[in-house]
Amino acid sequence: MSMAPRTRKFALTAHVTFSVGWLGAVIGFLVLVVTALSTQDTQTVRVAWFAMELIGWFAIVPLAFASLLTGLVMSLGTKWGLFRHYWVFFKLSLTVIATFVLLLNMQTVSFLADIAAESESVDITGMWGELLHAGGGLLILLVITILSIYKPRGMTRYGLRKQHQRQSKMS
């Protein structure tokens, strides 16, 4: 299955937009975490938890799914495929892992944001966990971006077999 050139260009634009948006939203999340960790003001920490919950559920999570979905469309709609090239396979794996960890971590963020809303206490220790999660997530997204731009060579066994089959058909 191969997309028409204009459709492919549109899908690529959407994929890049969602992926870069995801990266930017994670940076925004990290700014809140660092601000909360470097303040002594309880109110700032509470507001940071609320803002992190909103950014997480309404920006990072939708962008992660949109990026994953458009990435699948791009792979399946072109000859790159999903499992033919190592860089595509690693990119897909990292995106799935990052999305899975994001969903798990957002449960914690929501829990601690609820606590901040309902009680007079704030949990600052949870912020260190967020620094680790958001920092790790940012690192993974940077690796994904590098893989997308450099497209390092290397075909999987499946990709080589498919290539061989195609060449056999042509000759």
Partner: protein, 79 residues
Amino acid sequence: MSNKELGREIDEDLGKIESESTTNTPRWVKMFGIIAIVLVLLVVLIMIISGGEHGPGRHIKSDDAVGQTLLIKEGIQQL
């Protein structure tokens, strides 16, 4: 941009695919795999050291029935 130009751009892009024929696993893939394994082991180790509990439950004291007691950083004033 015309369909013809877009098509040429895609052909150039895909030309890279057609030219690959080596069966050896590239060095960057091996390095990537090693780094991934080390990171996974590191995460597992951190989870074991931190008591094995992960997620929201980590922030609730086990002896607290209501589950509302939180770990408060020293120096932060409660409202």
